[in-house]
């Protein structure tokens, strides 16, 4: 039997849209061997998901169409099969799982039925036998109590559990190839680690091959055997994992590595890829990366690069690799000119913000008279102190209450208890009217750059609004000057101010948001996951910008995030939140290199990383409990690997180490 399972050759999938033909997949070729994990890596919009759908022949018709190419599975060309034969292969030879476990399951059908459907379709089992197989599958994907889960509906399960169900559906037909399209992107890191481990285990048991589609270099480093990098509808580099991570060839891959934030790059500016991905409606006559490439020369503009493969199997689509041009010096063009500022803000007083025992509880009303029957303890007593010119990162998984902290400080949500002291004003005690003049001092930048700008206002009006409300920036013409200046400061052009938000990319919008916040001369900016909706290369631009602004203007940042690498790169201090409380806080150097709380340890170990590949992981069982009824005692006790009796009864106090590094854990108390 041949070693190669799937052979994709010159696959082209095009979409007809009102703005022309979008060549989403434009000549993609790769092989997948039996039992291996092949990762397709790329940023959003590069065509990696369309590639996977094309393999299954599930491209949404009639807009999308597979134009040419072949997909050979075990010597059969899938693209020429009649639809009914293709249907027999879907779910049996090829299984697929999708990115969004929340929407990928039928909401009005029990999960048992949904798995059973596939079992009946492909294994020929009926009734009891089929149900038995379903229960087996449920337990094999690590769902506890399968008998009961069988009759439950998708909404009763958490995201991680749903993704396990999706895996069970995909496995029901015992496929030889599993296509996983961003299977863990919607999940938290600790859950991601669980799911990735599960997939690796299942692969080991069944010997199936896996096509993993992802944008996350860390995930690739952890699970892939071989990697292909996609850019603008084409594969630009393909190599084994070791080759790829030790010696990336294509300038695009190199840039991706350089733009990853990382603790070693603290103090430096991150490399950025200038410009944007060219629209896929264009007819390319040269290299697609040419405009953004640091090494491009004339040839790159005028001739299509050829696929060049080294004997080791490491290949790339780049003129630089082409033996014909071997010997050419790699001349580095100047990268994007970073506006270096001369002034460095003088740091005035200390401690701008101090939050004391902040609590935000949301009442749950029920029954006839809407009585309050309980509370969601979103934020349950946290203390924060933030100094001018510093960055405090607030880290935690989704649902831990970190966003609510930000809104509570801003008084967008009125806290239930506690003090928010800013410049000697307790914000919680002020009325909305009294707050208004102080609003300029604290600003916020949101996660989603698409919903944070009113689509009906021009950029100039968006930026001006805050200035008018705060009475800053002088008269009308002075304000316009200031807007021009602000736009330049965030790396945009002043002629952009007459445009509407929809004309800008995600990264540019985020810059506009920053300019809008800066317009009212804040002292503190709350950054609520400002880069998590952006691609790595764009993220680097925003992080560089934030860092520069801090240096120039002496801003303080409260940086809310779930991304440890961003924290490592940007923050001075870090606070780790779990279920409404801070469990560990201290300087970044201390907390991230020597985590003391078991949760922090598990969280850090769960983050996929490109540096220590395949290290032994400390896995965290279970999921974040509901903040309505937090567990008795230490909130972390049901998941803690080192749980003791005390933990179930009491919540631990702070144990303070040097440099104000504190931990709330009985293990630390004992050690004292």
């Amino acid at each position: 039997m041949n070693d190669t399972l799937l052979q994709v050759n010159g696959l082209k999938t095009w979409f007809e849209t009102s703005s022309g033909t979008v060549r989403a997949v434009d000549g993609v070729s790769f092989d997948i061997r039996r039992g291996e994990t092949f990762a397709l890596l790329g940023e959003s919009g590069c065509g990696k998901s369309i590639t996977s759908l094309s393999l299954m022949r599930l491209v949404p018709e009639p807009a999308g169409k597979i134009v040419s190419g072949s997909v050979m599975l075990d010597g059969v060309d899938l693209l020429t099969l009649p639809e009914y034969q293709m249907r027999n292969l879907r779910g049996s030879k090829i299984g697929m799982i999708f990115q969004e476990p929340m929407t990928s399951l039928n909401p009005v059908m029990t999960i048992g039925r949904q798995i059973q459907e596939s079992v009946e379709r492909h294994m020929g089992l009926r009734n009891r036998a089929a149900k038995g197989r379903v229960l087996e599958l449920l337990s094999s994907v690590g769902i506890p109590d399968p008998e009961q889960r069988y009759g439950e509906y998708p909404h009763q399960l958490s995201g991680g559990m749903k993704q396990r169900v999706m895996i069970a559906i995909a496995l029901a037909g015992e496929p030889e190839l599993l296509i996983a399209d961003e299977p863990t992107t919607a999940l938290d890191v600790t859950i991601q680690a669980q799911v990735l481990e599960l997939m690796a285990d299942l692969q080991k048991q069944t010997g199936m091959a896996m096509l993993l589609i992802t944008h996350d270099l860390g995930v690739v480093a952890e699970v892939a055997d071989r990697v292909a990098v996609m850019y603008a509808g084409q594969i630009v580099e393909q190599a084994s994992r070791e080759q790829f991570f030790s010696d990336p060839q294509h300038p695009y891959s190199k840039k991706l590595f350089a733009s990853m934030p990382d603790i070693e790059k603290r103090g430096e500016t991150l490399a950025v890829i200038r410009g944007t991905v060219p629209p896929l409606t264009t007819q390319f006559t040269g290299c697609r990366f040419e405009e953004r490439c640091d090494y491009s020369w004339e040839l790159c503009r005028n001739s299509l690069p050829q696929w060049t493969q080294q004997p080791t199997g490491h290949g790339a689509l780049c003129h630089l690799m082409d033996p014909r041009y071997q010997g050419r010096e790699m001349t580095l063009l100047s990268s994007e000119p970073e506006v270096e500022s001369l002034q460095t803000a003088t740091l005035a007083e200390q401690a701008t913000l101090s939050v004391d025992n902040l609590k935000v509880h949301f009442p749950i009303r029920k029954g006839l008279l809407k009585r309050i029957v309980g509370h969601v303890h979103a934020v349950d007593g946290i203390d924060i102190e933030l100094k001018q010119g510093k960055t405090l990162a607030l880290v935690g998984e989704s649902g831990c209450g970190k966003t609510t902290v930000g809104k509570g400080i801003l008084q967008l949500i009125r806290p239930t208890a506690g003090k928010v002291d800013f410049d000697n004003n307790d914000l919680t005690q002020l009325s909305n009217k009294q707050l208004r003049p102080l609003r300029g001092d604290i600003q916020i930048i949101f996660q989603d750059p698409f919903s944070s700008l009113n689509p009906r206002m021009r950029v100039a009006d968006l930026i001006e609004e805050g200035m008018v409300a705060q009475g800053k920036g002088g008269n009308s013409s002075q304000r316009q000057q200031r807007i021009d200046q602000l736009l330049q400061q965030v790396g945009m052009l002043s002629e952009h101010k007459h445009r509407y938000p929809h004309e800008f990319s995600g990264g540019q919008r985020q810059r506009i948001c920053i300019a809008r916040a800066l317009a009212v001369e804040p002292k503190l900016i709350i950054c609520d996951e400002p880069t998590s909706a952006l691609d790595v290369s764009v993220q680097a631009q925003i992080l560089n910008l934030l860092k520069r602004l801090q240096r120039e203007l002496g801003l303080a940042y409260l940086f809310i995030t779930h991304d440890i690498s961003v924290v490592e790169y940007l923050a001075h201090e870090v606070a780790v939140m779990y279920l409404g409380r801070i469990v560990e806080q201290g300087r970044v150097e201390d907390v991230l290199t020597e985590p003391r709380h078991p949760y922090t340890q598990a969280l850090l170990s769960a983050v996929p990383s490109i540096r220590n590949i395949r290290k032994k992981k400390q896995r965290l069982e279970g999921e974040l409990p509901s903040p309505i009824n937090p567990p008795q005692g230490c909130h972390f006790n049901p998941r803690c690997p080192k749980v003791m009796d005390r933990c179930r009864a009491h919540y631990p106090n702070k144990t303070v180490h040097e440099n104000n590094h504190f931990v709330r854990c009985f293990l630390e108390e004992n050690r004292e």
């Binding site: 879907r90 929407t103 990928s104 039928n106 059908m109 596939s118 492909h122 995909a170």
Partner: protein, 325 residues
Amino acid sequence: MIAYIIRRLLYAVPILIGVNILTFWLFFVVNTPDDMAHMQLGMKHVTEEAVDNWKAERGYDRPLFYNEQQDGMSTLTDTIFFDNSLRLFVFDFGQSDDGRDIGYDISERMWPSLALAIPTLIIGLLVNLTFAMLMAFFRGSYVDLSGVILCVVLMSISGLFYIIGGQWLVSKVLHLVPISGYQPGVDAWKFLILPVVIGVIGGIGSGSRWYRTIFLEEISRDYVRTARAKGLGERLVLFRHVLRNALVPILTGVVVVIPLLFMGSLVMESFFGIPGLGSYTIDAINKQDFAIVRSMVFLGSVLYIIGLILTDISYTLVDPRIRLN
């Protein structure tokens, strides 16, 4: 569940009070009993005496809210508000302006209305669903396109045209069924079949187009892609996955109108001479019999609110997301 229904019922009380006060205000304050008498007896050449007599016969000569001439409770109960408005809450509709018992008339006339409305609803629903499924199955093809065009054309034709055209063609030219009339019992079908068919045809345009939109919306969801990735055929995907999800909004949309079926259809019943509540209402409007119109307004509101409650309950029954939370 029971607590939930009780809560919903309690919510209905203030709404019914609102309806009651609004109708009272419209019928007795804006439009005084004097106006009513004048309208009934003819605008001109009416003596004061005749007006007073007319009012006295119907008890409209009493004060609106507070009767000073009575003692005790009667100061409040012997008023127009109490007798003609509050009594509606116990479904005591009183007498029509020509002296018939409204409650009795309603109970008699409700059956022909139902005999017409229920088949129209059920057959209409099935026909619309079938059409919509067909269009969704062949989406993007010429079948779908011509279906949509047909729907828009059907929608644009006045309902009266269907009725008049149907009567002319089926009854006048082809002499298949009687042109109008009604007979209780088994023979009723002869009189009902034409209005039912016309009612169904009149509803196809908007109905199946709307259902088609719901189907197409469901088809574009992620779980449908999952079902296809399992290797299910288009038919199974449509019937087992899409239909079940699409039925949630469709069924609940139907449930809201079920109680209102009692009210009958004004136009259909009067065109086909079916002695239901619809033609009862229309006759009352033409006779300017305010007592009947008032009763029907109140009855309609009660039925509408029952429909709302049933909708909420049916949501919890059809949709596990709501049932189990």
